[in-house]
């Protein structure tokens, strides 16, 4: 009987019901689209910001101060200070390995070229290696620095090759100074090197020459040694908590800090696996990255809140309208002996059903729209949590019932006779 009432009511005025459901669906769609975009935009922008280059620098625990200007060292580096090359893969076995988007070891030296001292770096360009779990991973300059403009080609050093031909990539400023083009040959350390490509970054890389790490290690006789590792990591912007001194934290706070991808906790974990090294945030990148991300997250959060509030109000007002319109019906039910509880239950069921239907349609449409925005702007679908749909539908039902509740109570309190006579 109860359900017949409800289903009859829905069937009787299909147009009005469709409009109610449509209004709920629209509100829900707005809310879902905004939430979907908001929840993932931080991660997307974080990845975009990685094109700024490394945000962590790992160097050996040095006994002496580096005296370096423009990549040229003015004091012979103490050969005791180095990071062993066979250890650096451990960076990818830390707790936050998935947040580490790339790392690039380098060995520094300088060579005389055209009567001038030019810094030469031995690096991994794009090296493949097996991670601790056996998966194939990549590291090297190209994983940290995103898009360097290269005239010519990158040196291919996928696998370690001690008999590789001598190839070099020149910084743009070096190439301009000596008038070198890709394919030319130049003398470094008394060996002929072929110019594979010329990199333009605008930064200090312009004044450098890059060669394969194993080639430079052999030429300067520092086998298996690395001077620095640049690391690019996706981090959580620093907040008050992150600025606390980890050594003064309670165990509980320490766990929370350790398990949050703050730049400082990632640096700490790298130092744990590389005890001979110190990892320092490059604040120019790390700090500003955090600020930009914080702004974007905050902005999207507030806009989403505004959208949620308005979506909630829309659903609420639609439901209030439908109840308001049906005061006559309520009065008739009361007049024919239905108890207040029964009428309330009938109407709430109906309203909840409409809310659920609108919520389902709306969240589906909203997810589609969020996906579309993601593809249009970031070229990938946004990752929305699986719970988003159900939660939004639930919220739509709640907002519907909340909207209906007040006018329903008012209607139930009125004398049926008064309502039926057409008065207020």
């Amino acid at each position: 009987m109860f359900f017949r009432f409800v289903s009859q009511s829905i069937r009787r005025s299909p147009r009005r019901k469709t409009m109610t459901v449509a209004a709920v669906a629209m509100g829900t769609a707005v809310a879902t689209a905004m939430l979907g975009v908001m929840l993932d935009i931080g991660d997307r922008v974080n990845r975009e910001l990685r094109s700024l280059g490394a945000n962590l620098m790992v160097t050996p625990k040095a006994r002496s101060l580096p005296v370096e200007i423009g990549g040229i060292s003015y004091r012979p580096v103490s050969t005791q200070d180095y990071i062993p090359e066979d250890q650096i893969q451990k960076i990818k076995s830390t707790f936050w390995q998935l947040n580490i988007t790339g790392f690039a070891p380098s060995l520094k030296a300088s060579a005389s070229l055209d009567g001038r001292n030019v810094p030469v770096e031995g690096v991994w360009f794009l090296r493949r290696f097996r991670g601790a779990d056996g998966s194939l991973l990549e590291a090297g300059l190209r994983t940290v620095n995103g898009e360097w403009k290269v005239d010519g080609r990158w040196i291919d050093d996928r696998d370690r090759n001690d008999t590789a031909p001598f190839e070099a990539m020149l910084g743009g400023a070096v190439a301009r100074r000596i008038g070198a083009k890709p394919g030319d040959t130049l003398q470094l350390f008394g060996q002929p090197f072929t110019v594979a490509g010329i990199v333009s970054t605008g930064g200090e890389e312009e004044d450098r020459i890059f060669v394969r790490l194993e080639v430079l290690q052999r030429l300067v006789n520092r086998p298996g040694q690395v001077d620095a590792v640049q690391v690019g990591a996706l981090t959580k912007p620093e907040d008050e908590f992150a600025r606390k001194d980890p050594t003064k934290m309670t165990p509980k706070e320490y766990d929370r800090w350790y398990c949050t991808p703050y730049i400082s906790s990632i640096a700490h974990q790298i130092e744990e696996v590389l005890p001979m090294a110190v990892a320092r945030p490059i604040w120019r990148v790390a700090d500003n990255e955090g600020k930009v991300l914080g702004k974007i997250r905050g902005l999207m959060l507030l806009i989403t809140l505004a959208a949620l509030a308005s979506a909630g109000l829309t659903v609420w007002s639609v439901m209030a309208t439908t109840v308001l319109e049906r005061r006559g019906e309520i009065a008739i039910m009361q007049a024919t002996g239905a108890g207040n509880g029964l009428v309330a239950a009938l109407f709430s069921t109906e309203v909840a059903l409409e809310g659920a239907a609108g919520g389902l349609i709306g969240s589906w449409v909203g997810l589609l729209m969020a996906g579309w925005v993601g593809r249009a702007v970031f070229q990938t679908s946004l990752e929305t949590p699986a719970m988003l749909g159900p939660v939004v539908v639930g919220a739509a039902v709640l907002a519907s019932i909340a909207g209906a509740a007040q006018p329903l109570r008012r209607a139930l309190m009125l004398e049926p006779a008064v309502t039926l006579r057409g008065g207020e």
Binding site: L52, Y74, K149, E206, R280, P281, K291, A320
Partner: protein, 365 residues
């Protein structure tokens, strides 16, 4: 007579109209707020990127070791922030150390990312030291640093994660003197860092390159391109969301207006039964809808500006001085769209007026 009708219709259905009004005003609020935020998000996001420091570097080219100091003035003439830097090797306790010299006043905006314990600038006879230097020589604030040729009092300890950590940073003139660089008209620097506004970056770089043929004027691609990229992506995300939400709220508005007509079939029947012309009835409904539309979009506009202002103040407090992030220009589009939709929806629903037969409607079928 006509207006009395309209007025009474509004009075008689106060509660129903209040609800419709609320729904419409909420839509207009959201539209105004989103439009407002969208319209100056680019400017605000670019301000955020200033913290990344220089986006142009003027470096020596060819055989030169220095760039003319005049480059700073040229860059400033282009409306950019610019600061000269000198790098040289000095000695402390007969150990070599990198000494950097800069014009602290000019370098300030370019070195926001320095985390400094103490002061961010040093006067003559004062200096800042990198945290590695401080640790190596066990130095503290206000101590004397025995830098050969230019002893100084330590005013700040800098950590940047970059080269500064291993440097002593002194006023420009001191470093020029230590490096033996010429002063006066031929004054030179090792490097000039420039920060130009993202929008004008390419033209500033081109102008500087033209005026300084002897130097290498380079764009820092990583900073410039990341800024352009992120700003563009945030802008287009907001744009698409604004468009989508506008589309949805417009649909909502139009269905609301249709409902306002449809639910009054009986009234239409009575009006027709007592001899009102269809056109007159349509005009009646239309003016009712337009009044509602104007009132709700005005209210929504006010509320939307408030929301936009609030969001702007919460997220971008530092640019609040340059305008609170409220765009008054969005009134016309928002009202225009609301009114147009009100008119279209009402008229579409009003088509029924011609089809309604009073006898059938009033009989209750």
């Amino acid at each position: 007579m006509f207006w009395k009708f309209v007025l009474r219709a509004v009075q008689f259905r106060k509660r129903r109209l209040a609800l419709a009004f609320a729904a419409l005003a909420v839509s207009a609020t959201l539209a105004t707020a989103l439009f407002s935020v969208y319209s100056d998000i680019e400017r605000k996001m670019r301000v955020q990127f200033r913290g990344f420091g220089a986006n142009i570097v003027i470096a020596p080219s060819g055989g030169a070791q220095t760039v003319p100091l005049a480059a700073v003035a040229l860059a400033e003439k282009q409306g950019a922030v610019a600061a000269p830097f000198i790098y040289t090797v000095g000695r402390v306790e007969s150990e070599p150390i990198v000494v950097a010299g800069t014009d602290f006043r000019r370098a300030g905006p370019l070195t926001n990312y320095w985390r400094v314990d103490g002061a961010r600038a040093a006067a003559l006879g004062e200096c800042l030291v990198g945290n590695n230097v401080a640790a190596h020589f066990r130095l503290k604030l206000a101590q004397k640093l025995e830098l050969e040729g230019a002893p100084c009092t330590i005013r700040g300890i800098v950590s940047s994660g970059g080269a500064e950590d291993a440097q002593v940073i002194v006023p420009f003139d001191i470093a020029a003197q230590l490096a033996g660089l010429p002063r006066g008209d031929n004054a030179a620097a090792s490097l000039v860092q420039v920060r130009a506004d993202g929008e004008r970056l390419a033209s500033v770089q081109a102008a500087l390159a033209r005026q300084l043929p002897g130097a290498d004027v380079r764009l820092l691609h990583a900073v410039a391109e990341t800024e352009a990229n992120v700003v563009l992506k945030i802008r287009s995300t907001l744009f698409l969301l604004t468009v989508l939400i506008l589309a949805i709220t417009t649909l909502c508005v139009s269905s609301n207006f249709s409902a306002l007509v449809l639910e009054r079939s009986k009234e239409i029947g009575i009006l027709k039964a007592i001899g009102a012309a269809e056109k007159k009835i349509a005009a009646l409904f239309l003016s009712e809808s337009l009044i509602l539309g104007i009132a709700s979009s005005a209210a929504g506009y006010g509320a939307g500006l408030l929301v936009a202002w609030w969001i702007g103040r919460q997220i971008f407090p530092e640019s609040a001085a340059a305008g609170v992030g409220v765009n008054y220009g969005v009134f016309l589009p928002v009202t225009g769209v609301t009114l147009a939709m009100a008119a279209v929806a009402t008229l579409a629903a009003a088509a029924r007026i011609w089809r309604i037969r009073p006898a059938v409607i009033l009989r209750g079928e």
